[in-house]
């Protein structure tokens, strides 16, 4: 499921810090819960991975080993070793290993560019990590854990297709 253009327009005026803060929090939550992800990435953990959701007005550049994340506005130049583009929720489903990366590449739903070794390593590391975003984010949410788990699970149920649930 793609985000609607209305969401794109609603988010576009947001200050970058308002997006960067929660995104960094989510990255830390995932890396804290899945340290083995960095083991599989090996030296590629130092690379800069740019995620470019087609349906969001932002791009996200992640350096996993440094737990680094920066947000840029869509169309603004960014320095990255790898670029991965596709619909936002599809990228999240890939993150959780709910869909096969090669299959969505063959069907042209995602595009990749840059350091292919790093892309392959990231795909395999994520695939083995059994990420579950509602659980992972809730574990970092303190007293808001039930709210985060419930909210994230509800969104996921709504956006995933039957075959990826």
């Amino acid at each position: 499921m793609d985000l609607s253009p209305a969401v794109f327009r609603l988010l576009a005026p947001l200050p970058l810090a308002a997006v960067e803060g929660p995104a960094r929090w989510a990255l830390r939550a995932v890396l804290d819960r899945h340290p083995a992800l960095l083991d599989r990435l090996g030296a590629h953990g130092e690379k800069r991975f740019a995620f470019l959701p087609d349906d969001l007005p932002f791009s996200f550049v992640v350096t996993p080993a440094r737990r680094g994340l920066s947000v840029k506005r869509r169309g603004i130049a960014r320095r990255a070793d790898v670029e991965i583009s596709g619909p936002f929720f599809l990228l999240l489903a890939l993150l959780e290993g709910r869909i096969d990366g090669d299959a969505v590449f063959f069907s042209r739903q995602i595009t990749v560019a840059g350091d292919t070794e790093a892309i392959v390593a990231l795909r395999n590391a994520m695939d083995d990590s059994t990420l579950d975003l509602p659980t992972d984010l809730a574990a970092h949410a303190g007293p808001f854990a039930p709210l985060v788990r419930h909210g994230a699970s509800a969104i996921r149920r709504r956006v995933l297709t039957p075959e990826t649930r």
Partner: protein, 325 residues
């Protein structure tokens, strides 16, 4: 017939287990196996855990040590075999006759399977491997027709295993040097056909361009399904024409011939795809498990959904029905 399923990671192993595999094949994270991609494969500890998990569920684990030993570095391959035996592998899948000799001598009780990479494609070659090294099973190359598979299985000195679904190598496996020519790295010794280190994808407008080393492998137009950047499935300029000289970007599917393979005495059906994600493994293994139990007329409908997961979103019966140019 047994269903032999791929796993490139422990997570994929668990999916294959849940989906109904009879045996799962996997490899160590180094050049001893022919799927030596970044972030893929098993550490020794992960392999031990996987074997234990499989054994508790009555599912066997095969370890693919199916590249060819590099002169002077044989110890890497010997250690892989020693460790596989110590970890309790139900079979080792080998391609190099030197490594088979080492295994037969050092670990005579270890069950040995002949990898597709060994390209054993006639009764004499199979008899040599069975008698010389005690091979119990041979994985047949994907260059044989169904009639040849049947004839070979009748005369085979050991069990035969046949690829039925997944990536399709159209060359004499273990002997192909196309990727080595383009990259300097060998599928057969480094374990990487079209190594990711030499692959580049770029977008030229709406066209996806795939490159291997200094060569453009393909240009996929807007909306056209893409494939892997392998030379054997590249698009070539030949004379005035442009097209696929060897094979299209396409995956193997001969699930409609299961009964023929069963009647021929084939012991095991193999699914390719250790480099694929766990979602692929779960979908393919569970679907094929259902297809094996279904009446023949229902199989095509069951497996049709797998086409969307395939390279080029197309499937072929390949050499089994030999229709290619």
């Amino acid at each position: 017939m047994e269903l032999i399923c791929p796993a490139g990671t422990p997570a994929a192993y668990r999916e294959a287990l849940e989906a109904g595999a009879d045996a799962i094949y996997c490899g160590f994270a180094d050049e001893t196996n022919a799927r030596n991609f970044p972030g893929l494969n098993f550490s020794r500890k992960e392999m031990a855990q996987a074997i234990e998990l499989g054994r508790a569920r009555g599912v066997r684990s095969f370890i693919a040590i199916n590249t060819f030993m590099r002169a002077g570095d044989e110890r890497i391959w010997y250690d892989a075999v020693d460790d596989a035996v110590a970890l309790g592998a139900d079979a080792v899948i080998l391609a190099d006759t030197g490594l088979m000799a080492y295994t037969a001598e050092k670990h005579p009780a270890q069950r040995l399977h002949v990898s597709v990479q060994a390209a054993a494609s006639n009764p004499e070659a199979i008899a040599f491997l069975a008698e010389g090294f005690g091979a119990k099973r041979v994985v047949l190359p994907r260059v044989l027709t169904l009639d040849e598979v049947a004839a070979l299985t009748r005369k085979s000195a050991c069990e035969t295993e046949v690829f039925v679904f997944g990536g399709l190598c159209v060359m004499a496996e273990g002997r192909c040097s196309l990727s080595s020519y383009a990259t300097g790295k060998s599928p057969n010794m480094d374990g990487v056909c079209s190594p990711a280190s030499h692959v580049r994808y770029r977008n030229d407008g709406d066209t996806l361009v795939s490159e291997l080393g200094a060569y453009t492998i393909n240009r996929f137009g807007p909306g056209e399904a893409a494939g892997y950047p392998t030379l054997c499935k590249g698009r070539f300029h030949i004379a005035e024409a442009e097209g696929y000289a060897f094979e299209d970007p396409v995956s193997l599917d001969i699930l409609d011939q299961i009964d023929v393979l069963r009647a021929a005495g084939v012991k095991a059906l193999k699914i390719e795809g250790r480099q694929r994600g766990k979602a692929y493994v779960a979908a393919v293994v569970s679907t094929i498990r259902k297809a094996l139990a279904a009446p023949p007329q229902e199989r095509a409908g069951l497996v049709a959904s797998l086409r969307n997961l395939s390279e080029g979103q197309k499937t072929t019966s390949g050499a089994y029905e030999k229709r290619w140019r």
